[in-house]
């Protein structure tokens, strides 16, 4: 049961705010992400994503995307152009496909958002060929998308749905710790990859948390400003 309050409008500004918040989160936690990657990969995941999202911010600052789709599309293309490494094409394609899924709409509803994330997950699965349990970003994103879809099909309020999504992403990322990697650079460690959090799963949590927090910030702004008008 959630306390009813105003919901954020999932418009172009909202999507821009999400990506901005995600970029800030990645910047804040870049060292942590790289350290996670140093343990089982090559220690560049934070640097890679930070370089990419910094590029995204430059692009978003200098263009004025008209639709949510454009925001995600630009994000994806820029990540592809700037990140390199495994995560660049994966996240980049994910954002592009998510953008495609949004079509021309200027405002998106929860089911729309859920199917955009569906498309993102499918893109990563297709490109990276990772199965569940391979200890990749998929292990955070897949349960998150499932939780979001379930919430959407139950017509849950936006913030509840996004919180469920984040919780599932977190649990999924936590679950990567005992896994043995069988995709990406960490797979070369074999059994020695066990006991470490997958950096891509960790960055997925950051990105999805930024989405939830954007909704919460906008929602609570709207809520507090508009509570007496209710």
């Amino acid at each position: 049961m959630s306390t009813p309050r105003s919901e954020a409008a999932l418009d172009t500004a909202f999507f821009t705010a999400w990506i901005t918040r995600a970029a800030a989160a990645i910047e804040t936690d870049r060292v942590w992400l790289s350290e996670l990657d140093a343990a089982i990969g090559d220690g560049d995941h934070g640097t890679n994503l930070d370089r990419g999202f910094a590029g995204v911010m430059r692009v978003l600052d200098t263009t004025s995307p008209r639709t949510p789709a454009t925001v995600l599309s630009l994000t994806g293309t820029t990540l592809i152009s700037k990140v390199g490494g495994a995560s660049g094409p994966l996240y980049g394609t994910a954002f592009r496909r998510a953008g495609n899924a949004l079509g021309d709409a200027t405002e998106i509803d929860l089911p729309g958002l859920a199917s955009a994330l569906d498309a993102a997950l499918a893109a990563i699965r297709k490109l990276g060929a990772a199965r569940d349990g391979d200890k990749t970003m998929v292990d955070a994103l897949a349960p998150a998308v499932a939780a979001l879809n379930e919430a959407a099909s139950n017509a849950a309020p936006l913030l509840d749905a996004l919180s469920a999504m984040v919780d599932a992403a977190r649990a999924g990322a936590d679950a990567t710790i005992p896994m043995q990697a069988s995709k990406g650079r960490a797979s070369y460690l074999g059994p020695r990859s066990v006991g470490h959090r997958d950096p891509g799963a960790a960055s997925t949590v950051l990105i999805l948390t930024a989405l939830r927090d954007t909704a919460a910030a906008v929602g609570s702004d709207v809520g507090s400003n508009g509570s007496d008008s209710d």
Partner: protein, 330 residues
């Protein structure tokens, strides 16, 4: 961390400027990070493009030139390049006969080159890719990202480069590249780790007398750690790993490669041991390279790469090459 750099995030840009200044035979697109031949594409010649993370110099930029690569795309240190680079490279080197991408098998490289292939295809440039995956240290390809691409890359670039120079078509150049990869194997042993400028810390830590057996070119872990042993024993370990995977016979091409921080005198000692071990097996080293060709920053250690030669390979190996790092016959 003590390094001859200005700042961690300008390493690649600064080095590219240095490369451009040092080698008039290269055209270096600093903006798009593409190193290509100064003279541009030759009409009707297949263009060879490779690339990967920086920090492995002279690979790949040092192998751009007559008889070898047409372009190289350097990523950040130990980070694969982005598709835009390979797209720019494909445009720069296409002489109408298509482009072959030589890709070392790492998830990041594979995905970024794959995206570039699609983008170039959209522009009407015919692009094919060949994967180099010669590192026998990776035993279980089913539960890993597969064998890593290491030393054989140099062989593929040289031999396919020579065939392309002779005017062979894309299918033939791709086929020889695949064949070289199929007939080549590598194994590396590290005495110390490299420190990337961005991280500022060694990628792994070894004890006073400990070595990493089967290490990858980014310091990926190998099969096991063990105590330091004699050059003869280390050569044997590397050679056994290769021979167990691909029984050797006839004539071979051998590369004893330094990882960046290994004195050349030590590489010659390893070469002596490899030569003796192969001779005892009745295997002849017909051609060889001893030196730093695919490095891992300042990592200490060596990798051994062997290719079972065919007559065609030997002929193409001997063909003239004129690049900053490999040069003969011209």
């Amino acid at each position: 961390m003590k390094k001859l750099i200005n700042a961690p995030d300008t390493v690649v840009a600064d080095a590219l400027e240095g490369l451009a200044a040092a080698h008039p035979s290269l055209a270096v697109d600093l903006e798009n990070r593409v190193i290509s031949r100064a003279e541009g594409p030759r009409q009707g010649k297949v263009g060879l493009v490779s690339g990967g993370g920086s920090g492995h110099e002279p690979l790949h930029g040092g192998f751009v030139g007559y008889g070898m690569l047409d372009a190289a795309c350097p990523g950040e240190v130990f980070t694969s390049p982005v598709p835009d680079q390979m797209l720019t490279a494909a445009r720069a080197v296409d002489g109408g006969a298509g482009v072959l991408q030589i890709v070392k098998n790492y998830t990041g490289d594979v995905l970024n080159f794959q995206m570039a292939e699609e983008l170039a295809g959209d522009e009407g440039i015919e692009v094919r890719s060949v994967l180099v995956n010669d590192d026998v240290a990776v035993e279980d390809s089913l539960y890993t990202a597969g064998r890593r691409g290491t030393g054989a890359t140099v062989f593929v670039e040289k031999i396919a480069g020579a065939l392309a120079e002779q005017g062979a078509d894309l299918a033939a150049v791709a086929a020889v590249a695949e064949e070289v990869n199929a007939r080549s194997r590598s194994f590396g042993i590290a005495l110390s780790a490299a420190t990337t400028p961005a991280s500022g810390r060694p990628g792994f830590t070894l004890g006073e007398a400990e070595i990493e057996i089967g290490v990858g070119i980014h310091g990926e872990p190998g099969r096991r750690r063990g105590p330091i042993a004699s050059a003869a024993q280390l050569a044997q370990t590397a050679l056994d790993a290769i021979n167990d995977d691909m029984p050797l016979s006839g004539e071979v091409l051998v590369m004893v490669n330094g990882m960046g921080g290994t004195p050349l005198i030590e590489l010659y000692i390893i070469y002596r041991e490899v030569q003796r071990l192969l001779a005892a097996k009745g295997v002849t080293i017909a051609r060889n390279l001893v030196g730093n060709y695919i490095t891992s920053l300042e990592m200490q250690g060596f990798s051994l790469t062997l290719c079972r030669l065919t007559e065609q390979f030997t002929e193409l190996w001997d063909a003239p090459v004129q690049t900053p790092a490999l040069r003969w016959g011209r």
